[in-house]
Symmetry: D2
Subunit: 370 residues, 4 copies
């Protein structure tokens, strides 16, 4: 078993030999492993250890802004070649004892509604997270790596940067390459490396909450050695992570790799897949049995009807309806938004009953302490 | 206990005193019940009993097209008034022994890809559905009413018809009022009644698969007596019902009503909600624990990057990736589409990691017979 | 599919062509089935329909005493021969709408403590049993056949009768053959047929609560055709059925047979086995997750220590401790005993920590209505 | 938070200030805690660290024989007085990476059948235990403290010793006080202290596998400060622990105490109780859903019928039938016995169907690696 230990009293830029925060094929591996070998990676939280207990919203303004996501890696898997499918099995994911969730003005799904910063700290103990900012709520351990992926090829790097630039030119939002806060700092990698915020074909920040202990993540390999990295541990999250942060934490991930030789090429697999046999999954309230759900349809606040292409609007409405439900129970709007981000699941009830495709937002009742 | 018994050897138009297939406040109630009283409603399938065992794709062409959805009702709940919140508790939902799933050209989420009709028959026995058209697959009982709702007010009727007409005028798809196949036939109700295909604020065809036995549906009341109707039983369905049909069946629903007086007005609740305490829920493979998932992001087939507003595109890609996965396992494209509609869940993994908001499609492995 | 329909307004003796209440190889089959064929059997409750809604303890005195258990059958399975292992798969078990539980003086595990008759009626509706005699408690559907088995051979009949007679001669309790209330009445079968109260190698009244829908029961075949019969439906029961009745009901069982040719002889299997894949099992509160448990050890009330051979005493103490716990919560002693019989599980915590082998009694908290 | 750290490279006798292996009210506390305070206790395995990886059956002969059970403690809970009920909440129980299970000739439930020593080593990693001696089997984490209890009063000490001596005088088996290997060594405590093998009213070695993380154990307090101690961690065990060892391991237990003042006196509670809300319970295969079960009835191998008082014989027969089932699947008799001890549950199916009270042995099929 090999492992990478980090010093969480330091920022990633102070330990650049342990990780990186941009995707680029030329970042050198920090470890070489055999197929089937267990590897343990210690990781920093998404703020690169900048957010600490005792901080308030006022302290958030001064943080370095483009550090996300400090990843530990890359790990070179011997024998991996383009065209293979890499399977990453999560043997264990262990939380650090502190976490946080924030609303970041200008980001998040409801950023037009939530324009002020908000910060909740979480204590993580014995499998539960509780927060003095959100009293009476407890969240059970559903730890997973928010960000985990492998290196793109040079060709992908160019193509993906180009398609995102094209989107920006059409008025859309993306995160173009930016050397500010980049690790490694300076040089081509900092200048051209892809930001880690968007997930892509190489997986990365996909924020799929089901990638818990026991799951297997499958990614088509793009470069020799695959170059796997991980970070951005989440103790718990709702499907959709609506305020753009989950219960963010430092984590330790134990993983094992398997190579399905040539399988990605053979089956033309271009996007990640994942699977879970069901053991170790978080219990019912993370896949909630005792729930209350709100619905959203693609109808604007002014009554305008939209159709099938407006699933995002349906999701937005389901979420707003859930926030109102939580406000009726006495939570502040900000608390409600945080609760949604860490515990409420958005599922697509129907995508065919035109024009009213429907998203439902599921609140697990068991998060509320008896 | 009161009940409405129907004759499923007849079409709804032959028993118009038992139900209707348009939403309109002037449809007279067929039953009056007290709050707390149990009511049993027998219902027809979505085809109004037109699709029968032994039929093939060729037989589908001649069917009456605008019969959906034959509903049993309305039931007048004494004491219900606008501003109340009506709670419908599903005490039991029992399946008829035959079901079907079809792909209908021109409808369904992937209608550009699936242009030919396809029909699968299901035998329902001892809690399982199996189909000679999809051998080796079995689906466990997750019975719910695909369509259930209450009457709109006259004002809502007008407003909803108007907003949908406006959408059509902007090139969108909706289902405008149409007297063809309407029950009641002729007159204002047939001319002006809302089609039942889209769900709306009065619930209706919301196709939320979690509304199983034991669930409670909450709808803001619009007219005196509320006027509840139900139909379109589904034996099982994936979140999203991608090919526009589930395992469609006749069903018997036992329900009980409760009035939360003034609650909709007091809390400004305009859309339905629902809840479930967790008992009687279908087992793990309907809320799958042992799964494999594909991912979709808002990137077009030609590589064009889209962003946050294209959740529909992400859903489409997740679904196409799942269909390809099933094809790799040896299923035909058409079988794969049906399997997705009846068993694959679409969940929103993230809606914030711009531009690549991500939808995951979950296939429960336990549908495949050992 | 073949079926046996009965008239529950009649006693078994009025429909003797549909069943029997003694085990004997010469009882003629009422049905012949193929391996793999589904068979549906309607069955009477353990009182042979004598206990009816509205009856009180006073009415119990006059009942025919030796009618247990009216079984429907036997069913002749073609091809079954001694040495085979017969597998009975329970496709479905459906409850009648009324049930009862009684304490019968002189019977039951704590018959020295509970010396008065007690009768609780249950209403069974939508998957729940509730009783006016035990308000505030509801029990979820866990239907199974308390008694189901196959015919013994003539040799077994003699040997089993002999070993039980020997026990009685040593002061033990058994139920020797007795023609009173026997069906078929008169003749050798009534005189010599084995009473159905004790389970034996041919299964019978084993009262294993896990034999629910979806389970498979395996019994070594003793005579040609096996001769399967079933009755004594239980809507729910705790492991141990301490007051000697469960929630007793009429039931309908759908079963299917499979023959493992020669398997019993080959593997020397002399007692029944059973298995369950886990689908359709009653939910957590029948295999309780949210529980409180009491313990019992083999120490007499006067402080005398007994050892390993006194597991019965440990079970008794665990049960008495649970009854006291329920009394502390406000239930009468009689209500508590009934609750234990229908919902409390006795499990062997250890059988090795001598002298204090330990039995735990598990009370599922979810039986109490919120 | 206070904690007791131990050095597992040492025997308890080398760190006698950290624990004890006899029950006696005069053993001085090693820690004083407040009600509600979290306490972390590191504990040794049942062999007092004598059994090490690489050892074989031959090495077992030379071990110190009377070291069981090295306990960490006692902990003095401020305010605890006789008549109170002490609640111990298990916040977490963490396994050491190595475990073992042995058959010890002369001990164990089937000691007449299993007369040779047998030793299996287990590797514990990522929530699973696997053993080279039992290949193809894996056992999921179900960690609990096999032994945990509080001090008896002097009066109880005398009474319990006396009743056990009386049993021995009648030919029974118990474990009388014995200074050999005692910690503290020498003096009255070693001479008179109760052996920890039997559980008693003060709990101790009750081996209830449901006392996992999240459970609460309630014991009537006998002396001021209660004096809680714990040890003998089990990674997994079947109900009954038939070969007298579970997966034995060193463990770390985090606990918190609560005092129910006077509750034991008020309600006359003389034996321990325990409860679990259901979170963190081991998954289905530790409370098995997918199982196969054998049955046992009180019938001797020579055919002699026994009755109600012979539940132990029924348990024995159920277990022997399960061992035969496992042998039919290819396991050796010794492997089968170990599998039963660590994974097979004995439940009392009925204790009323005289004479054949029935015990069922449940084997969870999911322990076998696919």
């Amino acid at each position: 078993m090999q492992s990478v230990e980090i010093d969480r009293s330091k920022r990633l830029k102070e330990e650049p030999e342990k990780g990186h925060n941009r995707w680029h094929p030329d970042i050198p591996p920090i470890l070489e492993v055999e197929e089937g070998e267990e590897v343990v990676l210690e990781t920093r939280d998404a703020s690169d250890c900048q957010i600490q207990p005792g901080m308030t919203e006022a302290d958030l303004a001064g943080l370095d802004a483009k550090v996300a996501h400090p990843l530990t890696g890359p790990v070179y898997i011997k024998g991996a070649e383009p065209g293979d499918l890499l399977e990453i099995e999560y043997l264990d994911i262990v939380a650090q004892p502190r976490g946080w969730t924030r609303n970041r003005p200008g980001a998040g799904f409801l950023r037009d509604i939530f324009t002020e910063p908000y910060l909740a700290h979480w204590q993580i103990e014995d499998g539960w997270a509780t927060s003095p900012q959100i009293p009476g709520v407890r969240i059970i351990d559903g730890s997973f790596m928010g960000t985990a992926g492998i290196a793109p090829s040079h060709e992908q790097l160019r193509a993906w940067a180009a398609r995102e630039a094209d989107l920006v030119s059409r008025g859309g939002t993306a995160a173009p390459p930016d050397p500010e806060d980049a690790v490694p700092s300076g040089g081509t990698i900092a200048e051209m490396g892809l930001r880690t915020l968007p997930p892509r074909e190489n997986c990365g920040n996909v924020d799929a909450k089901q990638l818990t202990k026991g799951s297997r993540l499958l990614i088509p390999v793009n470069v020799a050695g695959a170059l796997y990295s991980a970070g951005d541990g989440h103790f718990a999250q709702g499907d959709s992570e609506c305020c753009i942060t989950a219960i963010e934490m430092g984590a330790t991930a134990a993983v094992r790799f398997k190579l399905l030789k040539g399988a990605a090429a053979r089956h033309n697999i271009r996007f990640p897949r994942y699977a879970h046999p069901g053991y170790f999954l978080p219990p019912e309230w993370a896949a909630p049995r005792n729930f209350i759900a709100t619905m959203g349809m693609p109808i604007r606040a002014d009554g305008t009807q939209e159709g099938e292409d407006y699933l995002t609007l349906a999701a937005r409405n389901a979420l707003i309806n859930m926030i109102e439900l939580l406000q009726d129970r006495g939570w502040s709007k900000e608390q409600a938004y945080i609760i949604c981000s860490v515990a409420v699941d958005l599922k697509i009830s129907n995508i065919v009953d035109l024009p009213n495709v429907t998203v439902s937002a599921f609140l697990p009742e068991d998060i509320f302490q008896g």
